[in-house]
């Protein structure tokens, strides 16, 4: 087996909402190794979002340890967390979060802008490679508003890939898309996972989407209630081909 990308030990997160104390995470432990495609499932209020924020280095745990690629996040400052997000994580959001009136290329370049070690020439090259990886080579100069939902999400994936992160973190990345487009996105992620060995952590509440991953962790009330390897991973590409023709036009 490869490196431990995520090493989560007895993670707890407590919020104070006025006088009330909310235990959003009540001691979660799991390890994600390099090359895994993990989905994290759970209904709303299960602590899914809190866990995602911590995994994404946007938030720090109250107790317990979280090691991202060997780095203990708890010990880092705000700026160091920003650096970690910049170097090790690629975010894909439900609502794409692309910069409006900014070309596809520049949207993809954005994470590299905050990495002072990368020259503008290398930046453009890497951005073009990432756009190629999501098959948007011919949309380089397009604005997000000129792209379809699926294309916008592919653009967001390109942005997540461009800094060569150790992990792609997707938050309901197919939540705004129809079935066919969702399958396209999943097919793309599967391809990145299988061919480029990208580690993917995908938060979703749809069991259908989870069935494309190699492992599913289910949360409930701030605890892991199920952590199963998926023996029978579906291929999104095949599913896409099997969709009825009428769906293509929807």
């Amino acid at each position: 087996m490869g490196n431990k990308i995520l090493d989560i030990k007895n993670l707890k997160r407590v919020f104070k909402m006025g006088s009330e104390i909310v235990h959003a995470l009540k001691g979660i432990s799991f390890i994600v190794e390099e090359g895994e495609f993990v989905t994290i499932m759970g209904s709303s209020g299960s602590g899914k979002t809190t866990l995602l924020n911590i995994i994404g280095c946007l938030d720090k745990p109250t107790d317990g340890d979280y090691l991202l690629d060997g780095v203990n996040v708890k010990l880092l400052s705000r700026n160091e967390l920003a650096g970690l997000r910049n170097n090790k994580i690629g975010f894909v959001f439900q609502s794409y979060n692309l910069l409006a009136r900014t070309s596809a290329l520049e949207n993809v370049e954005l994470p590299l802008m905050y990495n002072s070690k990368i020259s503008s020439k290398v930046r453009e090259e890497k951005a073009k490679q990432a756009l190629h990886a999501v098959r948007l080579d011919d949309r380089i100069d397009h604005l997000p508003s000129q792209l379809s939902g699926g294309q916008q999400q592919r653009l967001a994936i390109a942005r997540a890939l461009v800094n060569e992160p150790v992990m792609i973190l997707a938050d309901e990345a197919t939540g705004n898309l129809d079935t066919k487009t969702s399958y396209e996105i999943m097919s793309l992620l599967q391809e990145l996972n299988q061919q480029q060995k990208k580690t993917i952590v995908f938060v979703t509440h749809e069991p259908d989407i989870a069935s494309f991953s190699s492992r599913t962790i289910t949360l409930k009330d701030g605890k892991v209630i199920k952590d199963t390897k998926n023996e029978n991973v579906r291929s999104a590409k095949e599913e896409l081909a099997a969709l009825p023709v009428s769906d293509y036009n929807s």
Binding site: D59, N79, R85, N86, Y114, S116
Partner: protein, 408 residues
């Protein structure tokens, strides 16, 4: 993030809201333009006063009897009634003062000048030939009287333009004609060139110049000197020349060290600095009023930056999630604020220069756009941008990325 990218992002953000950016800039534009125009008007009037005063001879020193002495505790006498200055004083200054290039005694009388049927009330001044160089006076035609004319009290004179136009018909050449001043016939040997009004609105051309002794003896019948005019080597040495003259005169008048001066020495430089400081005050006042509008412009920037930060909360969240540090966000908004204020500054300077030249063209007020006011306005703009942009930018940089991302 490097400076170029910061600029590009800021520029794009402004272009996204062209009208809003322009309206925000307008505050700065008006502020800068008014500062530049006001300072230009102030500086212009200062320069024109200065050149008028210099026209009177900027190195000029004048010495009058002091009026500050109570005579025996009784009524004090006006300066012109005092008789403490003598022709010997003039000679002493000429012989012993090193920082004085020219010196001339002066006496003056008022009276009616007559040429045939025409007459005009004017002033006649009795001086030495050096007086013309002290006062920086040129001749339009004819010649100046000589030292010998002074010695023999020759009945000759030079007339000013106002006198000429009042007692001679247009086109008539006064040189060689005989005119009468208080019944004394004087031959016109030269015409002074025009000097115009002085700073106090006095017509400097309404004058007749004659040899000192001619006026002193023939017209006034006095033995003393009313005023002594002298010229310092240059403007900077007028203080040295003043103290030199004082020393010489005190010695000449045999004053004890405890005695007050019985004369007053004043320099043109003093007068210039007094008047300049008055108009300097005016300039500062105008600039201060204009500066207030610059502050108001700055508040406009602050307001719009708050709106901008609020509007782009989600963008800030995204930037943070892909690795922007607080300082990156801070700089992004700060550069945007500075860009607004500096762009406004550039346009404002252009407007200010245009407005200044329009003012001098249409109102014929003298204006002078000084480089320092342009540089100063730019600096104030940059500072305004930083000052009013910093607080909103800092707020942006302190946003929680989680909340910013979820902001709708």
């Amino acid at each position: 993030m490097n400076a170029l990218n910061l600029l590009r992002i800021a520029w794009r953000a402004l272009l996204r809201n062209k009208l809003r950016a322009f309206l925000t800039m307008l505050g700065i534009i008006i502020g800068v333009a008014s500062v530049i125009t006001m300072v230009a008007i102030g500086e212009g009037s200062k320069a024109s006063i200065r050149s008028q005063l210099s026209g009177m001879g900027s190195n000029m020193i004048n010495i009058r009897p002091s009026s500050n002495q109570a005579v025996g505790g009784g009524a004090r006498i006006g300066a012109s009634g005092l008789q403490t200055l003598k022709i010997e004083d003039v000679n002493a200054i000429r012989d012993h003062a090193h920082f004085v290039t020219a010196v001339s005694p002066a006496v003056q009388a008022n009276g009616q000048v007559i040429n045939g049927p025409l007459n005009w009330p004017t002033t006649i001044q009795g001086v030495h030939p050096e007086f013309l160089s002290i006062r920086d006076w040129q001749l339009q035609s004819g010649v100046v009287f000589t030292d010998n004319d002074v010695k023999i009290s020759a009945k000759v004179c030079l007339i000013g333009q106002t006198v000429k136009s009042n007692i001679f018909s247009p086109g008539e050449d006064p040189v060689g004609k005989i005119i009468r001043f208080n019944k004394i016939p004087l031959k016109v040997i030269g015409v002074l060139s025009q000097k115009g009004e002085n700073t106090f609105g006095q017509d400097q051309d309404d004058i007749i110049l004659a040899p000192f002794t001619t006026v002193q003896k023939r017209i006034l019948a006095i033995t003393y000197v009313q005023t002594i005019y002298a010229s310092a080597v240059d403007e900077n040495s007028s203080d040295t020349a003043t103290s030199e003259i004082s020393t010489i005169l005190r010695k000449d008048h045999k004053l004890k060290p405890t005695d007050d001066d019985d004369f007053t020495v004043r320099t043109q430089a003093e007068l210039i600095s007094t008047i300049s400081s008055t108009s300097q005050l005016l300039t500062v006042l105008l600039a201060a009023i204009a500066g207030i509008s610059l502050v108001v412009g700055g508040i406009g920037i602050m307001n719009i930056m708050y709106v901008s930060v609020k509007e782009r909360t989600k963008e800030i969240g995204l930037r943070m999630s892909v690795g922007a540090r607080g300082i990156d966000i801070l700089l992004q908004f700060l550069v945007e604020a500075i860009l607004i204020s500096l762009t406004g500054g550039v346009i404002g300077v252009a407007f200010g220069i245009t407005a200044s030249s329009l003012v001098s063209y249409f109102l014929s007020w003298p204006t002078l756009v000084s480089q320092s006011s342009i540089v100063l306005s730019f600096m104030v703009c940059a500072i305004t941008g930083v000052f009013f942009g910093y607080y909103p930018a800092r707020n942006a940089s302190r946003l929680d990325p989680i909340e910013a991302l979820r902001y709708e």
